[in-house]
Symmetry: C2
Subunit: 291 residues, 2 copies
């Protein structure tokens, strides 16, 4: 069609998608273009603003690497990630809630670590002993694969170090629950931290005078055949930023007590000459839907 | 705010933008997030679909270089570019119409070329002599800076050659109109061609079974102080794809006659031993709005 204007063009783009054999793809693209066009018309987007957007998206893509996902961070700070998580999991009462995945997970994480191993590997922070229990419908879930990852006392993930390699992973490990559905490990106490602000998301955060802070947390991903995979955090009770998470991810049910302990015997029997912290948290999985 | 769900999260994201000192930025981000969230809710976007989108955008950014702009191409094929162009220029009758910029313009193009120079530099295709006249309100516009760029008979732009450098520019030049508002140059006849389909846009085009073709055209950008910059194409009359441009850019007023000529004397006096083509086109600029 010739001579399309800012109103007639939308139907023509839809017509081009009408031949997509995958009906779900057609549905998604049609809705996406409708909203994109509505947005551009509604704000009467100008050519220089359009170019600013093109350049912003380009730089966002170019910041991504195998250890940094700036588009995930952008989606997180636009609330899109949490929206998709929320509408994808309608949990029954008493089942652990999902929250955002975040940009720092590494799929090819270290091999399964042994019970009570120390995954801090010299990272900065107070010692923390984590004891986690995985249940479903009141029964322990054995042999669940539990990915753990978190930041140090300075708010840094291992992958944010330019020299990071998979062998240099710290505060990052994969565990398997025992017959009682339990794992236990040592690491360091995470602190609240700013999301990375040296990229395009940082530009957006500064331009809108938002806080870049996230409350302290440890990430968990728990997988077991027959159960819906759980991707969640355990946030630190009492953290200043619980109510103002830069990525909108805090659920009340995902807040845990990181308790300060005096020197003495730790839950795994280790004798601690200095004070340390413990976290004891119970995750409840939902059985996977079967067809 | 804690425990945001897929409905309550939108107002919370808007609240975070509310402190942006730049009111236009606030307006744009607020509308963008509203439409992004509405889109995700409307199609009930799933987590795997979200991740497909993240990966698509990431790869789109990473395909961009100083000679390739995949995000511009994506915007073009989504009809967004032409929508923004259309709503940015409401031309009076008789003034040249704008169309999309496309992904192949090079800002640091070759220096101003002389009258009747040959910019093809050995590119494949039938010889073409272009004579262009730049007017405004019936009077010639002298010293207008005219960027010209186009593809060869195989549909390739110079910058699509991996070995391209600015010194190797072909079918790409900058001219200045003379006292009569005229430029003239030799090049090769452009042909209809597919947009680049070796990237993410190509994946989208194939998945939706769309045509990737654009009708043959030469790009022009005409700039002169005191006039609204004109970014346009001259499309080839009779081209098969005029009605189905992959980037929605064809305006009736931007169709020109690329006329076949027998061997003989060309408009600039050159004697042609073989047949050639001519294009004679008149551009009409709009005076810039003054405050």
């Amino acid at each position: 069609m010739l001579d399309l204007n800012e109103y007639t063009i939308t139907a023509e783009v839809h017509r081009r998608f009408a031949g997509a054999p995958d009906l779900r793809l057609r549905e998604i693209l049609t809705a996406l273009v409708q909203h994109l066009h509505d947005f551009a018309r509604e704000v009467k987007l100008t050519e220089p603003e359009w170019m600013t957007g093109i350049e912003f998206l380009t730089r966002t893509g170019q910041l991504c690497s195998n250890t940094r996902q700036e588009f995930v961070l952008l989606s997180d700070t636009f609330g899109l990630s949490q929206l998709v998580v929320a509408q994808s999991h309608s949990r029954e009462e008493g089942v652990s809630e999902q929250t955002v995945f975040g940009p720092f997970h590494v799929e090819e994480a270290p091999k399964v670590a042994g019970l009570n191993s120390d995954i801090a590997k010299g990272a900065t922070g107070d010692p923390l002993y984590v004891s986690a229990h995985v249940l479903s419908a009141g029964a322990p879930v054995a042999k669940a694969v539990v990915d753990v990852w978190h930041a140090d006392a300075d708010g840094q993930y291992d992958v944010q170090d330019a020299n990071w390699t998979i062998e240099k992973s710290r505060m990052r490990a994969v565990f398997e629950t025992d017959a009682d559905g339990r794992i236990g490990f040592w690491s360091v106490l995470p602190k609240s931290y700013p999301i990375p602000t040296d990229g395009t998301v940082g530009e957006m955060i500064r331009a809108t005078k938002q806080s870049s802070m996230r409350p302290a947390h440890v990430h968990f991903r728990i997988r077991r055949e027959g159960f819906d995979t759980l991707v969640t955090h355990v946030f630190a009770n009492g953290d200043t930023y619980l109510d103002a998470d830069a990525v909108f991810g805090v659920r009340s049910s995902c807040i845990g007590n990181y308790e300060s302990r005096p020197p003495g015997i730790a839950p795994d029997g280790r004798v601690m000459a200095r004070h340390f912290f413990t976290l004891d948290f119970c995750f409840v999985l939902e059985p996977a839907l079967t067809c």
